[in-house]
């Protein structure tokens, strides 16, 4: 099937969908967020600002400015390179249009750091139907990245990305809402990290191993499907759960399970608690220690491509501020969320511990994530 008939089907689907009363665009709001990640020798923090404004009840624009300030002395960095600091800034602009029960959204994002630039554009269409019990959404994104390398001004490699999304949200009962999502992503280009190395057995080395640059395939296609539900309890509180399955052409399969509980307290407070479990298998070309130099065409020793399990516990609180006396501000909240991660690797070893190559203890680390933000609706 060619590209044209696929898009023709998409347009046909939208044309055939019943139009009736109008839907609703997201509320006008502004958010100022501070985020901090600290774990495994890496600290990343910075602000994120979001402003969203409607025009004529039919159009909405939003802008987001986001900064990552990175200080990295991760296990990769301390074993094969030098600790570094860098800053990544990201800006995005989105435009939404509502036409009856159909919402069209376009989004442009630019991300820039000293050795990496990413640009992306996306189009999303959602349609409410069946008396607004059901929302169906489609989306498509294209991304154009440029990978550079510090200390090598001639190094510049592209990555092209395409993303296809499909989602369905369904009110099932007066208390239960469920959703399913599917997303397919393809990448083509320079997909490895230009600084990272793999290690291989080298009898001539005192440590028993030596390093060579990693080499990834130049293409990757992944599919992810998820199902989620949110249930309003007999008293005013909610539970939610989600399961996601992921698979890709590099041989990684993963499962994610997430559960949570949301509990208001009076009129001002909302408390949340959650747990997330993530498990993945390694990429086909991953090894902690290759048997020799150039052991195979593709080589990776990125712990994100290894076999591992992670656990995340989440706690959060939202407090609705008393009226501030500003006419344009309808309501405002202050929010604090804390996440604690535990990563446990099954085939990535901590070579800083020393010992015979391939018998070092397995690596693992904890990470703390904090999100503090103020939100205002106007």
């Amino acid at each position: 099937m060619t590209r044209r008939p696929t898009w023709a089907l998409l347009l046909l689907a939208l044309a055939a969908a019943p139009g009736a009363r109008s839907g609703v665009l997201p509320d006008d709001r502004a958010d100022v967020l501070y985020h901090r990640y600290d774990g495994g020798g890496v600290t990343i923090d910075g602000p994120s600002l979001l402003v969203r404004k409607k025009f004529a009840e039919q159009y909405s624009v939003s802008a987001n400015y986001y900064v990552d300030m990175v200080s990295s002395a991760s296990i990769d960095v301390v074993t094969t390179a030098s600790p570094y600091k860098e800053e990544r800034t990201q800006g995005s602009l989105a435009f939404d249009m509502l036409n009856g029960k159909t919402q069209y959204s376009v989004n442009f994002t630019n991300s820039d750091e000293n050795d990496y630039t990413a640009n992306s554009a996306s189009l999303d269409i959602s349609q409410d139907m069946f008396g607004d019990l059901t929302t169906v959404s489609f989306g498509f994104s294209r991304g154009w990245d440029e990978v550079r390398k510090r200390g090598d001004t001639d190094f510049s490699e592209p990555i092209d990305r395409s993303t296809y999304r499909l989602g369905l949200s369904q009110i099932v009962t007066p208390r239960l809402m469920m959703g399913v999502n599917y997303e397919l992503v393809t990448d083509e280009g320079f997909l490895n990290n230009p600084y990272r190395s793999v290690r291989y057995v080298d009898p001539d080395s005192a440590s028993g191993y030596a390093y060579q640059p990693e080499a990834y395939p130049r293409t990757r296609t992944s599919s992810a499907a998820s199902i989620n539900g949110r249930y309003f309890l007999p008293y005013r509180a909610a539970v939610h759960g989600e399961y996601r399955f992921f698979t890709d052409t590099w041989g990684i399969d993963s499962s994610t399970v997430r559960i949570g509980y949301t509990h208001p307290w009076g009129e001002k407070w909302i408390f949340e608690a959650g747990y997330r479990w993530y498990d993945q298998s390694a990429a086909d070309f991953y090894s902690d220690l290759f048997p020799r130099q150039d052991a195979q065409n593709f080589l990776a020793r990125d712990k994100e491509l290894s076999t591992f399990t992670s656990h995340m516990v989440s706690l959060g609180a939202t407090y609705e501020l008393p009226p501030l006396g500003w006419k344009f501000l309808q309501r405002s909240t202050v929010n604090l969320f804390y996440e604690r991660f535990r990563f446990e690797y099954d085939d990535f070893r901590d070579i800083t511990a020393g010992g015979q190559a391939g018998t070092e203890p397995l690596y693992g680390f904890d990470a703390d994530v904090i999100r503090v933000y103020v939100s205002g609706w106007f």
Partner: protein
């Protein structure tokens, strides 16, 4: 790629076109629970998208979170 998209698109087309006469079984006056902020899956988008960024940077998996994709410079 386009083949992979064709089937879900066609399925959605048929569902949207063929079932437009379905009677809503949860009436509008029975939906007050869904207007409560605690039932919103994405109450604060800026905070949720940051956490998705952390997941994408630390894990091999990506997608199907209900959020927009984008270049994150994570490799």
């Amino acid at each position: 790629m386009t083949r992979a998209l064709a089937m879900p698109t066609l399925l959605a087309c048929l569902v949207m076109a063929g079932c437009s006469g379905v009677e809503p079984w949860v009436k509008p006056y029975e939906r007050q629970n869904f207007a409560d902020p605690i039932m919103s899956a994405n109450r604060d988008p800026v905070a949720a998208s940051y956490l998705n960024h952390v997941f994408e940077a630390r894990e091999g998996a990506r997608g199907a979170t209900g959020a927009h994709g984008g270049g994150c410079g994570c490799n």
